[in-house]
Structure formats: C-alpha cells, structure tokens
Subunit: 203 residues, 2 copies
Amino acid sequence: MGETIKNISKEQIISAAAKLFRQKGYASSSMRDIASSLHIEAASLYHHIKNKEEILEIICFSMAKRFLDAIAEVNDIYFNAEEKLRKAILFHVEIITEDIDKSAVFLREWRSLPDTFLQDFLRLRNQYESDFTRIIENGIEEDLFETTDKKFAVLSILSSVNWINEWYQTEGKMRPNEIAERISDFVMGGLRKKLVTDIHYRP
Amino acid sequence: MGETIKNISKEQIISAAAKLFRQKGYASSSMRDIASSLHIEAASLYHHIKNKEEILEIICFSMAKRFLDAIAEVNDIYFNAEEKLRKAILFHVEIITEDIDKSAVFLREWRSLPDTFLQDFLRLRNQYESDFTRIIENGIEEDLFETTDKKFAVLSILSSVNWINEWYQTEGKMRPNEIAERISDFVMGGLRKKLVTDIHYRP
DNA sequence: ATGTTTGCCTAACAATCGTTAGACAAAAAT
DNA sequence: ATTTTTGTCTAACGATTGTTAGGCAAACAT
C-alpha cells in the first residue's frame, strides 16, 4: 500500500482549515472535512492540534498580530499623516491579499471564538482601530484632514479596505499596491469633483 | 397546566431565527435554539415552515427585495446624481437599521443558502450593485463626480454603508438619517481638506 | 540491535443535529 | 352535537459532530 507517513505540518492543517472556513464557515466545516482535504483521517489531526477551536484561535490571533505589527511600523517610520494613512492602507491590503483565506476567517469567523478568547480578540481589534484613528487625528492636527467624526471616518476606511477580501482573487490582474492606491485616492476624497472650496477656484 | 396553544406566527419564527443567526451564525443556531427562544418545541416549528433552509431563504430574499425596491424608487423619483446617491444611501441605512438582525443575516449568512438559491441571490445582489453603479455613472455624465474606477467607488460606498450593521445599536443616540448624512458627506469627499485644485485656491 | 518516539490508522463514544410520525387537546366549522 | 382543522406535544430516527482510545508501522535514538 501507499506510504503511511505523510508528515503533515501544523501549518498545513491551519491553512487547509482556513481555506474551508472561508468557503463554508467555521461551524459548517467539520474536522473530517479538514482532514480529508489533507488526505488523512480526522483523528490524525489531534496529533498536531488540541481541538477545533485552537485552529480558529491561531488563525484569528496570528492575523491580528500581523495587522497590529504593520500599523506599529507605520507609526514608527512615517511622520506626515497622509503618508502614514496611505502606508497603513497599503500594509492592510497587502496582509489581506497575501492570505485571503486566513484574512477571511479573521474578518468573518472570529464570532465563533470561545468567550475568553473573544474578549482578547476584540481588545486587539479595538487597538488597531484606535491606532488608525490616531493617524486621522494627526492629519487633523497637521491641518491636512477635515472630518466631523473621526470614528466614522476610520470605520468607513476600514470597511472599504476589508471589503476587498470579498472580491479579491489571486489570479486577478490588480496588484495589491494598485488596490491600495485606489482606495487611498477614494478615501482622500476623489469622488466629488466640486467641493465647497471649488466655488472660489480660479485656474 | 398552562395553555397548550401559543399561536406562534411564521413571522415570529423568522424574527427569532434572524436574531439567533445574527448572534451565533446560521450553522451554529439549531432548530431547538430557535424553538426554545419562542418557548416551544423544535418539532412545532415544522407546522409553520418547511425546514431550516427556508428560514434563511425568506430572510435573505425579503431583505434583497427591500434593497432593490428602494433603489428602484430612487431612480424613479430623483434626477440629480448627488440627490440620487444621497437618497440611495439614506434608504440603505434605513433598511439596515430598521431590522439589524435580518440585515445581518442578509449581509453575512447568505453563503449558507443552498446552491440554487445562492445563484438567484447573487443575481439580485449584482443587480443592486449595478443600479448603484449607474448612479455614479450619471454623476460622471453630469460632471458632478470624478472617479477613475466606478466599480471601485461603488464597492467602497456599499462596504461603508454595510459596515454600520456591525456597530449600530437601536438604543444608540445616532439616528439613521444622521448616519446616512455622515456617510454621504464622507463619500462625497469630506476627509481631505487640500485637494490638487486647492493649490490654486485663493480666498 | 533494541527501544522510543512519531504520525498515522481503525473503531468507537456520547452529544447533537434536522426532521418525521403520531397523539392529543383546543378551536373552528358544520 | 359532531366533525374537521389547527397548533402544539412527546418520542424517536438516522446522520453527523468533535473527540478519545488503542494499535501499528516507519523513523529515530541509543
């Protein structure tokens, strides 16, 4: 018969699970589904992982870490608020497009985390949001941005960036930096041609 | 003992289900969960509905109809593209805030629809998107809007509007029309103070 | 060469799932 | 007054769930 040893790694299990979780959702993906996508039996998974919830935890928290590390880097390096915002958006898009499966799980399936982990997770998510908000605040202080409601602006920006997870395809022709640029342009106010200030515009 | 007849309506079942589907997701909400939230037994549900999937179908398609009717009304009544866009956003926000449970299911849980219904559902969703896109196109023709990528603008707008489902609370102080106004303002380019044209700005 | 560890397997478990059958009482229709 | 319909119930079904126990062969350590 075939080899009995296939040496599946923990990372392979996580990736296979993420792919399924994205397609069918966490609750609808069984351990047998995950196992058979790796051509092993469900019981074999437990040699590598504690249980099903651990898989979800690892995906959600590793992605959270990536996002938080990215925005920390932005705040370390750049000073100008617009540069910061553009770079933050670029990093965000890059992280999402680098692994659409895991980022889909991060964005959608975190609700299935057990209660204690859910609280930690939401803390991290709030941290990320407030780091983003800080950038907008910087922009306002620098007299670059103008917005009535910071919180609102951040949520609009993040929702736009997160939405790319719904339609992005690796085979697609649009590269992450193109996507990030278009979102940035749009966010910076690209849609409307005539602003109030344009009333005074003289070429 | 107590009354044996409670006369639960189909709509009560749908609402109770929507509430649970929002909290725990479709797959993680059992028929017994739905039943016990109505103080009846699971088997009793089947006097009112065909099966579990039917509940999801009804929620998803009734919400889809609301959204499509709303944007059809916008296109019937208004002519100016900015008015259209603002009204379309207002209706969208109103529909979402009117029933956060059902709209959450519409936005998140449609993936669990059986294949045939899923295709119909996505057709309706694309219809809505292209109705929205048409408004942006109108705006460009009217020389009101300026955007490199229409599809992109629409997706950004819709994602921003849909995101309110994540944080909106009925008890919150913000009314739907306030929310719609802020989103509209933001979308119309409220964030950035200094545009390229502002280089030439002379007060 | 021998013993230990690793990585898979088969088999089974209790729990829970959606759903159906059939009984029974209240309400409505005749 | 009798029949029919309606809305619930209890009980059970087969399937599937996450998980555990225990076996066995390959790989590794000594």
